[in-house]
Amino acid sequence: MKKITAAGLNLHYGTFHALIDVSLGIEPNKITAMIGPSGCGKSTLLRVFNRMNDAIEGVRVAGNVELDGENILAYRDDEAIDILRRKVGMVFQRPNPFPLSVFENVAFGMRIHKLARGRELEDRVAESLKAVLLWDALKDKLKRSALSLTLEQRQRLCIARLIAVTPDVILLDEPCSSLDPVATLKIEELMLELKKRYTIIIVTHNMAQAARVSDETGFMLLGRLVEFGETSRIFTAPQAKETEEYITGRYG
């Protein structure tokens, strides 16, 4: 059973056709990487899965996108969309912690969704920080401002903040593009750890990263999903000519 399936997905920004007939299936508890040149629609596709495109004016989406067999494009009321976003969390390109303390950042979602309070809240904050391997470094600094952390720690904190509201799926939109190679490697290790419990989709410009961490890879070009399959096969025996050109650096 696939976690997410898209069929005949089309998306327009005004008159611009950003996603063209995209169909794919995302395996649960695996890391799926989406690669492709800038403007190919991979971030747009990612933002379909948690309906983040709704906020952008002039966006029209057609087709079928199912999460656990339920069509998320059919959601009309805000509450259903808010619940979807709790289930499908997102990590952004630049770490964007709230200007609050470390503790309050992780507690934020739980407080608002009334998931926990008091002792239980503290425990769940600790659990979330442990899951992103920040606990040892920060357990005595929970009251510190999140903005005083390093970029890598901030990105981890953003993941912890998300895990705290118990998602199923984690969307990562170029999560390492503002990190140095060492920090990138650490975040990648974290992803491998997290996939035991979550389904992960990552958009990346870094093909080596896709090759290192992902189980499945999709290559997108000009709004189309050109090729989708097992990562080892995509990188060793691509079927489409465009894929081969892109991964060997001969694109454009």
Binding site: D78, N96, F98, P99, F108, I112
Partner: protein
Amino acid sequence: MRDANLVIRNGVNVGFKAVIIVFSVAAVLPLAFILGFIAFQGISALNLDFFIHGSKPTGEVGGGILNALVGSGLLILIASLAAVPVSVVTGVYLAENRTSKLAFFVRWAVDLIQGMPSIVLGLIGYAWFVLPIARATGSGVTFSILAGGLTLALMMLPIIIKSTEETVRLIPVSLKEASIALGVPYWRTILSVVLPASLSGIVSGVLIAVGRIAGETAPLLFTVFGNYYFNADILKPSDAMPLLIFNYTMSPYDDLHRIAWGAAFVLVAFILILNIFVRLVVRRWKIRF
């Protein structure tokens, strides 16, 4: 040849720098003189009695500014209570809906209110607040602190709206996205993420607005009117700092002139401290992303 050129260039450089410094000092000099003069005239009037007594009967020496202090304090309180919620909500709306037609008209209206002469706002205050309040309470007393406070609130609106709009606009979109991506509803995102992050800008806008209205006289003439007796009832007329300065300066008694100078000093000092406070708030609370 080359050296002569260099000498001329250096000469021009020094000359230009001198002009800049002289003009800059000239711009600040009036302020220094005003502050110095008011302090010189007013400081001698200050003592404890000055702050804890109201006005004495005409002809009697002594008395203080207590009535005016209480009146001004209540005016500022009422004006802030009325203006802050409306302005903050409007400011957020303008920042969040940059291109909507309504926002365009609201922004325009805000500019118009800001440009309106304060004496005109005083007349508006008389028509909108003084008369209806008199009708509602049924008492013969028409002028009141409440009417004056609401009129001053009109003057605070544009200042707070603009500072709120500007601050909220500077909040990175990524911060809002972070909250929305956690499944937090839009209104809750504004309340729990955007407003707290904008706090320093909003608070400094409010303080600047308070400083602006603290010395306003014209709107008070038609709304609070003035009162020689102590009054803390917001439905009755009261004295206020600018009104006291106005009335006492117009009187023929030296003693009252002295009190007016003292009151002017207190008022100016209050506004000055408020301004310093604004800077501290901005420096302390401003969040750098």
